[in-house]
Symmetry: C2
Subunit: 327 residues, 2 copies
């Protein structure tokens, strides 16, 4: 039996659902993966940090205590919220964990969107894993899909609908709702944030796009390098005009490799009715990968939830248990 000690940095909705899922799947982890996980420490901005019930000065001290554990695996689980200016404090948390010799799993887009190559190289030097399946499309495998199941394939580009809030808003506006009403309803339903600009202005999609381009295509971009157009009060009319022409408007995130450089764009785009992305309803996400050997393949998340983000963290932890060394 492999024994894993975990320290959680961030314990909001995702973190607490992760703790529930861990308990729910405990017997399965033991039976199928000979793995037993224990949450040894927790750090939140509101309640501070503790490890084994003892208070810590800050998350960094908690990481040092985890690093001293005699468990088979020491894993930091990072789920703080994204700061779109620079990806902090998540990057500092991830770096500290790696340098202390702990594995890291995160659902935060910041580290991969702002500092992927650095953190990947640091993890390789430290002989630990740095995994982040939850950064894009929750628990639906994207990064693990390409790494584990598409060896010797080159990703030439991608095109996706990867932000749920804007997809919900556009779908509502197609049916005649105003931008303001659609947004207010999303906020009341808990789908959109109190400050919706991260979603509506395309920043969330841009961060995911940079993350995908960095990891899958070897780019070294930040979300600020993505050509970005969000939704505005004119989007509803554009969405209804598209419908009238038998098409659909979607906030499309895309990347393309040309002349050795990766260009990333997030923008509302009119798609023909037969396009795979055109058919996605509000809650659905999908990513089409353009590859050399397999041409175009797509993976779709037909419904999203907090449990799925929590599962992304769990699937990364199982990946570490299967292969604790950096590949």
């Amino acid at each position: 039996m492999t024994r894993a000690d975990l320290a959680l940095i961030g314990f909001g909705n995702v973190g607490s659902r992760f703790a529930e899922l861990l308990e729910d799947r405990a017997s399965r982890l033991a039976a199928d993966h000979q793995l037993t996980c224990r949450i040894a420490g927790r750090a939140t901005r509101r309640t501070g940090a503790e490890y084994e019930g003892q208070p810590c000065r800050d998350p960094f001290e908690m990481v040092q205590r985890l690093a001293a554990s005699d468990a088979d695996l020491r894993i930091v689980v990072e789920t703080t919220t994204l700061d779109i200016r620079n990806g902090e404090p998540a990057i500092a948390h991830v770096r500290a964990a790696i340098e202390a010799g702990c594995h890291v799993v995160t659902a935060n887009k910041g580290p991969v969107a702002f500092a992927y190559a650095d953190l990947r190289d640091a993890a390789a030097r430290a002989g630990v894993q740095f995994l982040f399946e939850g950064a894009v499309m929750d628990g639906v495998p994207i990064f693990n899909l390409v790494r584990e199941t598409l060896p010797a394939v080159t990703i030439l580009g991608f095109e996706g609908v990867i932000n749920t809030t804007t997809n919900h808003i556009i779908t509502s506006m197609e049916q005649g709702e105003t931008f303001e009403n659609a947004l207010a309803r999303m906020q009341a339903d808990g789908i959109a944030e109190a400050d919706p600009s991260l979603d509506v202005d395309g920043w969330d999609a841009a961060a995911k796009t940079a993350a995908l381009a960095n990891v899958l295509m070897g780019a070294q971009l930040t979300p600020h390098d993505v050509r970005r157009t969000g939704l505005d009060t004119n989007t509803g009319e554009a969405a209804r005009a598209a419908i009238a022409r038998g098409k659909r408007l979607k906030l499309v995130a895309s990347a393309r490799l040309a002349a050795g450089a990766v260009t990333c764009i997030v923008e509302p785009r009119e798609l023909p009715a037969g396009h795979l992305l055109a058919g996605l309803d509000g809650a659905a996400n999908a990513l089409i990968l353009e590859t050399d050997v397999l041409q175009r393949i797509a993976i779709c998340q037909l419904s999203g939830s907090l449990t799925q983000t929590a599962y992304a963290l769990l699937s990364d932890i199982i990946a570490i248990a299967r292969c604790p060394q950096t590949p």
Copy 2:
């Protein structure tokens, strides 16, 4: 560097494309996976069997010679054609290879559709891998997707369009072509077989359905246990009637777990326009997995080719090189 010796049983279109792809990706396999592959033997019905240039009595003698190789990995690559009555001779080839201590990769549906549990257990006893990504949706990862990236997830059912010939025929008939003309054109284009009954009567889809149910859902079925309705001369009218109602007719392969038993069905089914499978054009395939944790996720192959089937074999070989022990 890991050195793999391969023996190919079957060397038709898929086998020869595989040999080309192996050469094309050789430097990438060496650089990314420290793997060098050499085709040491070949057996076909037409030309007989040879190993290292020396003739063999039959494929079984070739397998014995491969088993005596001092390479790091000894892998049998099985690509004979499916016999829908019983899955032979592929099952006998796979069993002989496993019992001789060789790993096996195959694009043949027979072994997984007729004898999965037996062959899986035999491989576990022999300490070798038995992989078959190419049996369904060519090189698009299905089996490897679930095994490698969806740990601790239970598959409750699936629904897919997984036979390209029938999807082409239905799409053509929607546009007014007769069944006979559509089929003749597919045969002229090399998409349908000279004997099209395997596709048209739903046997190919039934074999894939049994393979998926056996591997992903723990069923122990054969293609003959799948409730199967193929296409006939009335399908064109049904397809056009569906279009007139704003729907699409598709040959849908599905499985469902209920009361501890897995029920599999292949049949033409009318789907609402917004359904993910409804939008697939002739060459596209897709599989929707119903899961416990991630609800519904889908993987789509937007275009198919022989190279993609060849890639399935290659991706399985790389998976063996990464993890030569049975999990």
